[in-house]
Assembly symmetry: C2
Homo-oligomer: 412 residues x 2
């Protein structure tokens, strides 16, 4: 290993900087001459906005602060590489830059779309006989990457969702009146994070009473019936709903109610499922109704991170470097679960081709027969991932996170 280059891509999580910290610490241990960081993913390489992280992170304290800071120190991009056949100009530019910087190892931390980038770069490298190692490091709060048992970032988001759900249950309990609280949780096609709200259940609190996931069809009449039935037993009903729930013909619930904005990858940008259900139940039930969108905090609330998640994210970053040193390439690092109780995992690697662009939803047999809750198997799968709290340093009453002033590009 001589010079490494690292990027982050896709949406933020609170664990993605921990993986960067893991890569950094191992590269330092291996005495890499330069550890470059691309600002705003692969776009930063093309735009020549590159930091030398070796100079910025001088000691363990610096790396520890990075490990415990949310979002993305290197920024992100939503840039999809063309297929090498259609535009090799960009590939030439990228590999020229690699040559100029004498890069031996390339690490990319991200989700499905980022693994697509690693896949394409690996294939192009193969074609031109480049010896650079390309390693993908998973992250996504959605937990929807194929091949890996789970993804860094999910456990912390799950802990935030579960903890917040419990607090919302407390908030909703105070009045002696019929009420419906709808909590909208992120998840475009995979319901893992919405399902994680079930981790809020205690021996005295049943919230969320109903859970609706994108993996099974959503039926409005059944939904209203579910609520009606529950009102016979209790007065305050709390519902967790994924932003991406769909009717049985595959229509997102909010699809007809808004302009169909798309992101750079052609994904429809959703919002408003909670509000739509709020209107629906208001018409049907004469009671207090509130919808709550957990919004971006579920992916950036480092103050409620899972220690298990942050430590795993750090370790998978370190293992990525070890794999590169061992000569591996065109892989993504993955977790294999050995057992739930005690919780044991191993970090391995998987051919990137088997992962890129494949989405992994919740297995249908982990969802209950009524399609409004989860089974014990899913609960047991998620429970170990939210264990432990991260000790943060505070300054002036707020968490003391890493300086990200380099991301404030005033020139735009």
């Amino acid at each position: 290993m001589k010079n490494c280059i690292i990027g982050q891509s896709g949406g933020p999580t609170v664990a993605i900087n921990a993986s960067l910290a893991g890569v950094l610490s191992k590269c330092k241990e291996y005495n890499c001459a330069h550890i470059y960081g691309m600002i705003n993913g692969i776009k930063g390489l093309l735009d020549n906005t590159i930091l030398d992280l070796n100079n910025i992170f001088k000691n363990e304290e610096d790396i520890d602060r990075l490990k415990k800071s949310p979002a993305m120190y290197l920024g992100s991009c939503r840039y999809k590489l063309p297929t090498p056949n259609t535009d090799s100009g960009i590939y030439n530019a990228i590999f020229d830059k690699f040559k100029e910087l004498e890069i031996t190892d390339f690490f990319y931390i991200g989700g499905n779309d980022s693994m697509d980038t690693v896949d394409k770069l690996s294939k192009y490298a193969n074609k031109i006989g480049s010896k650079i190692h390309f390693i993908g490091i998973p992250k996504t709060i959605d937990n929807d990457l194929a091949a890996t048992d789970h993804t860094p970032g999910f456990g912390s988001a799950a802990k935030y969702v579960a903890g917040s759900m419990l607090e919302i249950a407390f908030d909703s309990s105070i009045y002696k009146l019929k009420s419906i609280t709808i909590v909208e949780i992120m998840g475009r096609n995979a319901g893992w994070l919405t399902a994680a709200s079930a981790l809020a259940k205690t021996n005295f609190s049943s919230a969320p009473d109903l859970i609706y996931l994108p993996e099974v069809p959503f039926d409005k009449n059944k939904f209203l019936n579910d609520i009606q039935k529950l009102f016979k037993k209790k007065h305050s009903i709390i519902i967790a709903v994924s932003e991406g729930i769909k009717t049985k013909d595959g229509h997102y619930l909010d699809q007809d109610c808004k302009s169909t904005n798309k992101d750079a990858f052609g994904h429809i940008i959703h919002s408003g499922t909670g509000k739509i259900l709020e209107q629906l139940v208001m018409q049907k039930f004469n009671c207090k109704v509130r919808s709550i969108e957990l919004n971006v905090l579920q992916r950036c609330a480092m103050h409620m991170a899972s220690k298990t998640d942050i430590e795993e994210a750090f370790e998978i970053g370190q293992q990525a470097v070890i794999s590169a040193k061992n000569g591996e390439s065109a892989i993504m690092m993955i977790f294999k679960r050995i057992s739930n109780k005690p919780y044991l995992t191993e970090i391995q690697s998987e051919n990137i081709e088997n992962i890129a662009n494949a989405e992994r939803g919740i297995p249908i047999d982990w969802i209950n027969e009524d399609h409004n809750g989860i089974k014990k198997e899913l609960y047991n799968y998620m429970l170990p991932l939210i264990q432990g709290e991260v000790e943060l340093k505070y300054k002036n009453g707020i968490p003391s996170y890493i300086n990200i002033s380099h991301l404030n590009h005033s020139e735009i």
Copy 2:
């Protein structure tokens, strides 16, 4: 002191149970025979839903768990007592119940409307020659109670708002593109909590870049100009806005856009200011726009409470009992600030008449001349209130709060 009775009323905070814990601990110290808790405020007295807290909270560990649990162990009500002249039937019922339970001291923890209840009960007691002591204990995330330097619950909500704002700033920083993020914060007529978002500012993060408060008139054109000017300096703009901002003729921004639902006290229930501004800036600026409603988590997120706030809430509860024992009545407990640095306060009492139904907004000279930010004086006032973190116990990855199953009234 023989038998005490305690109630909680109004909206939840994370500090209101700490005040209840304070009252409890001091009543136990004074060997009160019975410490009754009214479920759902004064309504619980009329409905005869009363717990004997002395039996439930047996030791310090029980009281500590109560102190560190969000929302309201005793539940709440939004019930306004009639003036004694118009309906003394209810007052007869209340004071008959006091007699039956041999109550010597009455404690009520709440905001403006709850202090109205304490005021009316004190006056009625005076009229009929009752010797019961009536003591109000303040709480509200809005920080809008008259006479007291600040209110328990505000500091924790402020810490959550500031911490979340910092994390939202991290989340918004990742893309290299023009963006506007609007964060809607609770506050009907007082902007204290919205102003608290300014505590998120660090030496590298300027968020929130703009702050709009209900104490000064809101002007759409000026608002759009403020953003336009800022875009010359930076690409990601974060705006904190109070739900209750009004135009110069006193119209709430969201007033024309929704049905004017009112709560039991005739207050208009607001929502949607952030969404309205989102639409406004989308029309004007060709960039990414997102609005975030912090929603109920700002008042129930015990996991991000201020230690200063929780300790003060506990102490003011204890002091209320001491005042009652000293024969005081028709008072609310208040904080007097001695100094900011070091932060020193004293707990005193104030005639309830001077407090009930009076609202305290931010002094205009603590708001900047451009009406889009706050002055250093306000920052310095708020800073001590968010200091310190509360050590919570966790179980199964989520906070281990107190059992509130008694609030799940299945009979409704």
